[in-house]
Point group: C2
Chain length 336, copies 2
């Protein structure tokens, strides 16, 4: 079996480490493995399939001989190395938001628009985590009848802010339990026992950068330039897995039974909707796995063609690492 030489840019962060975990779990045939991080991590090593790999600092010649480079860094670092990765003939599957809306870069959720991946010119972008989770949940509905408009209200986990996010939540929980003052560094306000309606920075239209991703990226992934999505993104004191309340209006009226039936056959999605048994998606259920759980599916009360639902998914797995690895699998013809 052919082996693939792989690089990970930002290997020591939350997403970088998860990519390594997913590569192992999915039995990806990895040949050479190069782990890149910032200067301060050089000298450290990370274990992969029993072998210890040294962290290197990337330079322009680092990517020669690699087949795929996974990006798990800031936009700045992704931009800095894009050209050297592409000219090394490696395919750059990038998690940052730097290239997502670039018309030469496919933006891919393999279960939805996997065929777009093959049109790449060296770079493929991984969508925003909440966008991936929301679209995985509603894609069955879009296939049954085009979505006219959509509203998404998120409950986003602290790990969406990187590895320091859950650490801050944990430190603040400890401070409250031990009656000590809270320290606030990662989030704009206290996150323990609070919810914060700000993720990203504010734009002129009153939305945050994070909120606009749902519409901007959703349009590109679904090939629906006309799709309107209003979004409110909120940080909640959860460690892992984003949850999203979604309301949408379809062009034709659909029955709940139709939606359930299609959803139950979907790859990557679990219909988890037995509220009478207290079974509905929740972050404590969906963490550390790739399935996006969908439940609480019901008719809207505000529009005859409206549907309301609720979903949860692990934003580091399907929202980032697993989706990126699935893009690679799509390109090399592996089943996911």
């Amino acid at each position: 079996m052919k082996k693939y030489n792989i690089g990970i840019l930002g290997a020591t962060g939350a997403v970088g480490r998860e990519i390594l975990k997913v590569l192992a779990e999915y039995n990806i045939p990895v040949g050479e493995l190069k782990l890149f991080a910032s200067k301060k991590s050089v000298g450290k090593s990370i274990l992969f399939r029993g072998t210890s790999y040294q962290i290197e600092e990337a330079c322009d010649t680092s990517f020669i001989g690699l087949d795929f480079v996974f990006g798990a860094t800031s936009n700045e670092v992704a931009k800095r190395f894009r050209d050297s990765i592409v000219s090394s003939k490696a395919i750059f599957i990038d998690n940052s938001s730097a290239f997502r809306l670039d018309s030469t870069v496919p933006l891919v959720i393999p279960q939805i628009n996997g065929e777009d991946a093959v049109l790449h010119q060296g770079v493929i972008a991984n969508p925003n985590c909440s966008t991936i989770i929301a679209l995985m949940a509603i894609y069955s509905i879009e296939k049954l009848s085009k979505i006219e408009c959509m509203l998404a209200t998120t409950y986003q986990a602290t790990s969406g802010a990187g590895a320091l996010g859950p650490l801050e939540l944990s430190q603040q929980m400890n401070a409250i339990c031990n009656d000590k003052p809270l320290e606030i560094e990662v989030f704009p306000h206290q996150i323990v026992e609070n919810v914060i309606p700000q993720i990203g920075s504010f734009l002129e239209n009153g939305y945050t950068t994070e909120e606009m991703k749902m519409q901007n990226e959703g349009r590109k992934i679904l090939h629906r330039e006309d799709l309107c999505i209003s979004c409110t993104c909120v940080r909640v004191p959860v460690v892992r897995s984003h949850s999203i309340a979604i309301e949408l209006v379809t062009k034709e009226e659909l029955s709940i039974e139709q939606i359930r039936e299609t959803l139950s056959k979907e790859n990557g999605v679990l219909l988890y909707d037995s509220p009478e048994k207290k079974e509905y998606p929740m972050p404590i259920l969906t963490s550390n796995q790739d399935l996006v759980y969908v439940g609480r599916i019901r008719k809207s009360l505000f529009h005859p063609r409206g549907i309301v639902l609720w979903c949860s998914g692990d934003q580091i797995r399907k929202g980032a690492a697993s989706n990126a690895v699935q893009i690679m699998m799509k390109l090399i013809g592996l089943v996911f």
Copy 2:
């Protein structure tokens, strides 16, 4: 100044205690004060304005001589004592949901439909906490142009489940900090580091009892039988204050400036909307006070006449105790 004889049914619970606090803070001229609770609290006493009051068990003759009785009990207890309170000529201002949709009972938010209170036949109902907070936030908009439809997605605090709610959150936080097993009693699932999309029980249409209150009670309070509200209610690991993301469509197009201007003059509401300074409503800001904070006001992306906003308010204060005391103030002509 005339003094009023007051009874509190359920005086030892979270809302009952808060009513006492509000009566004192608002300088209500209280004459006789009778505190009722279940048999197991008899013998205990509660301090009010420096005087200690014994807890009594209520019976049918307990209410004779009282002017107002505040109900802060279950529906069952409220129903059990309704007739004896009314026949004692006391006005029963009840926090339970037992009589809210009864056509002979006004359902009142004093700032919105205070004039309905005077039509009472002995009983006035206090609305659901999330409904009060949401309607306080959107009432200015309804005055500018009728609301066609509305979507509400809630982030509800643990204290909405009574005094045992925050206790369970605190115990579960301690268990996590000390690596001990979690105990789950009050909520259907673990609430620490989780969000639970269930408050109340499920109805045949897939909504919970809590979710239907927003539309059912909203219609009655606003005198808008045609108003459509879809709601998703979610419990979050917060101690106090509910937050709500609201999207609505008005009959005429409104500008954000118009809405801000009207909101800024509203009694009981604080326009708190300077996101560039990280100023938006949050539970840690709005607790232990009566103002409902409104912010993140922006144009919807899904409808040309759509508005999106975010609000937080203390559901034990304005969502229950303060609203009930304000109903009394409205009836006796005190300014609030």
